[in-house]
């Protein structure tokens, strides 16, 4: 069953917490991965790959650069999840 927006944000929060050590409660829709959550371009790749596995979605390299905020990623996953 497809994940809801809330479930996706919670899942992303867990992933960002594991990869960058950011507290889960800081991961909110309006937060920028780079500017607010200290996720650099390489860690972003790790976040993307973990999200792909968790939400059964493919996020190609060319789309990764458009995922600036948690909201962008959530919307992308909502739209593309299997």
């Amino acid at each position: 069953m497809a994940a809801t927006q809330e479930e996706i944000v919670a899942g992303l929060a867990e992933i960002v917490n594991e990869i960058a050590g950011i507290p889960v409660e800081d991961v909110q829709l309006d937060k920028s991965f780079t500017d607010d959550l200290d996720v650099d371009s390489l860690s972003m790749v790790e976040v993307v790959v973990a999200a792909e596995e968790r939400f059964d979605v493919k996020i190609p390299d060319e789309d990764v650069k458009n995922l600036k905020t948690v909201g962008d990623a959530t919307e992308y996953i909502l739209k593309h999840q299997a």
Partner: protein, 333 residues
């Protein structure tokens, strides 16, 4: 039909000796920061690199190779005349012909050893090792010298903040010879030419010659795409090499990945779930990315510092421009 006598080689092959050469000039991040807008902290956090070596005019591809090879030959306990073939992997020798391997074979004093260059980017060491093993087992050479050598400083765009800090120069060499026991596992290798744009030389030499471009060609890459491929796809290849050799990660002593970037190394270790008992090569910190030279250089350093010892079981994996890759399990010399 006339009967052709079959060639007769050794039952198996192993690495008998390793040697390295690092140019005398050590270049700290401060020097890199003279031409790019970045910081020491940024470079270290994105790559782990603190210093790299850059070659002088005298430290040519051939000169560095001869130095590294001399050490490898001494380490193997053989003489140069016993070497039957010299395989050189490089992408930064700027004279297309003849192959630099012939000059190196001559300067080392080999007895007319077969000599040729190969182009397999950062996987070049694994490609050379695989050829060497084949030659020894097939019988066309008793001892083979495999050299990875680069002067990547010549192919670095010092104004490109994504790559200016990455590359270094140096040479690493191994002597491969006969063995009664398997000591080089099956190679898992391949190419993905559909990703040829991911890491590449900016423009062909001919564009520079005709004046079509003013800037000397350099190596450029798509950082995020390379990172994803290197960490996640190459972890699968590394796992396959372990399985092909019949070695579990618990039985592994040492992991020597191509020294591309410490972040890639960290993520590979995590993805492969390597136990903490495995010694991981992190030569990139003080050597930078030396492409084909990085694995033998890292191997030499681990053995020299005592972090690894002769007889240890090591997983080596190279990956880079092509894209190409090669992974195998070896017994350290």
């Amino acid at each position: 039909m006339s009967k052709i006598k079959p060639s007769k080689g050794a039952p198996y092959a192993r690495i008998l000796g390793v040697g390295g050469y690092r140019p005398t000039r050590i270049v700290p991040n401060e020097v890199i920061l003279e031409t790019i807008d970045s910081s020491d902290e940024w470079i270290r956090s994105r790559s782990g690199i603190e210093t790299r070596h850059w070659a002088s005019d005298e430290e040519t591809v051939a000169a560095m190779s001869v130095e590294a090879s001399g050490k490898a030959i001494a380490d193997a306990g053989i003489s140069a005349e016993q070497i039957g073939a010299v395989v050189v992997s490089t992408v930064s020798h700027f004279k297309q012909t003849p192959a630099v391997a012939t000059e190196i074979a001559h300067k080392l004093g080999t007895a007319k050893a077969a000599a040729f260059d190969i182009s397999a980017g950062c996987a070049g060491f694994g490609y050379g090792l695989t050829l060497a093993k084949g030659m020894i087992v097939e019988g066309s050479a008793e001892y083979v010298l495999v050299i990875g050598v680069e002067r990547l400083s010549d192919l670095t765009d010092l104004e490109d903040r994504a790559t200016a800090f990455l590359f270094g120069d140096g040479a690493g060499a191994v002597v491969v010879g006969p063995s009664q026991e398997p000591a080089i596992g099956p190679t898992v290798w391949g190419s993905e030419g559909d990703k040829s744009e991911t890491i590449k030389q900016t423009v062909p030499w001919t564009d520079y010659r005709t004046g079509e471009v003013e800037k000397f060609p350099a190596i450029t890459q798509e950082g995020q795409a390379v990172f994803r491929w290197a960490v996640f796809e190459m972890a699968k290849v590394a796992q396959q090499a372990l399985e092909a050799a019949g070695i579990t990660s618990d039985e592994l002593d040492v992991f020597i990945p191509h020294q591309a970037n410490e972040r890639i190394i960290d993520s590979m270790v995590k993805t492969l779930k390597l136990p903490e008992t495995v010694t991981v090569a992190r030569d990139v910190r003080t050597t930078g990315n030396t492409s084909a030279a990085s694995i033998p250089l890292a191997m030499e350093r681990l053995l020299a510092t005592g972090e690894a010892k002769s007889g240890d079981t090591a997983l080596v994996i190279g990956f880079g421009a092509g894209l190409v890759y090669a992974a195998t399990v070896v017994t350290l010399p």
